[in-house]
Amino acid sequence: MSTTAQQRVLRWRAPDVRGLEEAARKGYPLEVCGLLIGRAGDAGFEIAGFTRAANLDAERPHDRYTLNPEDFLRADGEARAAGLDVVGIWHTHPDHPARPSRTDLDAAWEGYVYVIAAVTADGVHDITAWELNGPEFTAVAIEEEDR
């Protein structure tokens, strides 16, 4: 994904990316989800870590997720205690491109960054980031740092 002057950026550490990829691979073929912890600013999002959360969608766990609000509450408390915030959500698209669906759009909150990992039986092959701007998602550039 290329970076333009206007495009906001998500920065995260390589170990977090690898950890998220591992969680996505282990969860396959079900959708898995969690929260992104860090700071949000004018330039975008600095990710300090991520959490796993339970998918409460028992009817369609292969292609839908409903993040357990109690997991959100716990992550929010821990983030605040560390001087950070829940700044976004990550979830997987098993056997599907890492592009937001209509379902993603309908449930999205402006202000969060949404990370989508496309995963197959072979592992994660694409990760993208998005944020809601009015009625549609716009892409957020991803920068991985070796810190």
Binding site: D63, Y65, E70
Partner: protein, 94 residues
């Protein structure tokens, strides 16, 4: 009346001038949210519908308990209570 902290999630902080929490003195969750609206106009319509009921895409907790299990907006508050407004998070491949 109990001194209560209301935790504001990041998507609603454009309505609280960036504040991550707001402190109010209230006896119930409903009173606390009314006071929040008085302080930060426009935030309540993101939490409650036009009938004053909790919106389906928002959860409200007192401490670690969802207010649905505590009597809803009538849930009482103890001194030092923490109310969390938790956005419902969902989506999916299709």
């Amino acid at each position: 009346m109990s001194k209560t902290t209301i935790r504001i999630p990041t998507p609603l902080r454009n309505l609280t001038a960036g504040a991550g929490f707001v402190e109010v003195d209230a006896g119930t969750v409903g009173e606390a949210l009314t006071l929040l609206e008085r302080r930060h106009e426009g935030i309540l319509q993101r939490v409650l519908d036009e009938h004053g009921r909790l919106r389906g895409f928002v959860n409200v907790f007192v401490g670690e308990r969802n207010i649905q299990a505590l009597g809803g907006l009538d849930a009482g508050l103890e001194e030092g209570a923490v109310i969390s407004i938790v956005p419902a998070v969902a989506g999916g491949t299709r």
